[in-house]
Subunit: 231 residues, 2 copies
DNA sequence: GCAAAAGTGTTGTAAGTACACCCATGG
DNA sequence: CCATGGGTGTACTTACAACACTTTTGC
């Protein structure tokens, strides 16, 4: 039974749109779809959907992501609410943007083949409908800030990765070259990776050591000391 | 004429709630109201209102603020969208929180007297309705981050202020003591204040020099060099 | 003349940045 | 044996942190 106060107030359509970042060992990518409903049918767009009565925004964003990719338990974060009156010519709609981080390689998701979804290099992405380009710009900037202060880069990498992959990822996110020795020193000084007795031999004759992120150790350090991740 | 696509989708009530920060030369404060509608009538709350069809969220937040305080052209920033299903027992409502910065002293606003609104020291604020406490926590953390990286502290101060007032403001925001000499050196090295030939004689026998924020100079520095404000 | 707040520099320490060579291996 | 990318340490520079005494003037 619902009480229904505020009966005289306007109601609106509330959408979520997801900026999905991926990394394919060389470039930072975003996942886009060809929109299959009017208006703007056939144009490139972020994936999105409408909030339902029985879910909160986080759940709606996760649902939208899972519907397209089949993936769940993905890192997602609310970005910003977009509310320009005529932002969607189809109807007055407010959209709350979310961004998600997934590892392109590890997850062979079916959805991307089935739907008309496609990965784009961030620099080569097409123009998007509505205010979606604006959302992407903000998402990139948020990702950059997060990557510098939280260990979220690992969400974009496979379980096991080389130092060079991690560095390339950071170079993609920050859009600048980093010094190899300084980067390794910095990462090692954080002391939150496990160096495995295993090498990736595909990457060089010599091979390159594989590492994994030690989440337990990281969580312990944060809880115990006032440890804070900083690149 | 409206097109009305998406006709089968659920609509929701969309509210804005404002965390209004002030500074009274000693303490960081927030402005709260005694709620005058059901549910939770009579309890302390952030000021809020519902989004109307003919305005975007920024406009709604500005309207809500002006309705209570009579103030306009106030620094406001969108914080986060809160969407827990039963967050408001009156009805399913999504709320987008905004925070605002105003100078308590310079603005003698009538609203605060008329409505049952009241300034509270941040530490002494009462428990608030719904998820408003959670909003305040996030707003404080956002304010802290902004204050360290953008010149928004001046929004909370009168046009003319002393170095000590600026330092006390930062100490309130960051909730820690700062070293007087280091603080002055840091601020002066930024080179964005104008030192006036005028002293505030109420604050000490000796008097204290007054300063103003040189917004033009700041904007120029940001545009020309890659200058970035950092405390 | 003294209480009360303003004003002012230096030195040590930690973090960041720049930089070049050897190693291991598959072909 | 050589081409390729992996792996490693040091010196310099810059930002941050700690710290104490003199000045002014109303009472």
């Amino acid at each position: 039974m619902e009480l229904n106060y505020y009966t005289s107030e306007d109601k609106v359509l509330l959408a979520v749109d997801c900026i999905i970042f991926g990394f394919d060992k060389h470039h930072l990518k975003i996942l886009l779809v060809k929109r299959n409903i009017e208006p703007e049918k056939g144009k490139w767009s972020l994936i999105g959907g409408f909030l339902k009565q029985d879910e909160n925004l986080d759940e709606a964003a996760a649902r939208v992501l899972e519907t397209l990719t089949g993936l769940h338990d993905i890192y997602m974060e609310q970005l910003y609410a977009y509310s320009k009156i005529d932002r969607d010519p189809g109807n007055r709609t407010i959209s709350v943007a979310y961004f998600a981080l997934i590892d392109v390689a590890s997850h062979q998701f079916e959805g991307v083949q089935l739907e008309s979804a496609q990965w784009f290099d961030l620099e080569e992405a097409p123009k998007l409908i509505f205010d979606h380009d604006q959302m992407v710009v903000k998402a990139v900037s948020r990702l950059r800030r997060r990557a510098l202060t939280m260990p979220i880069g690992f969400e974009l990498l496979p379980e096991k990765f080389t130092m060079r992959q991690l560095q390339t990822l950071y170079e993609s996110i920050l859009d600048k070259k980093l010094d190899k020795r300084n980067f390794v020193n910095k990462i090692n000084s954080l002391d939150i990776l496990i160096k495995l007795d295993e090498k990736d031999m595909t990457v060089a004759r010599k091979g390159a050591y594989l590492y994994t992120f030690d989440k337990e150790k990281y969580d312990r350090k944060v809880a115990e000391d006032g440890f804070s991740f900083k690149i």
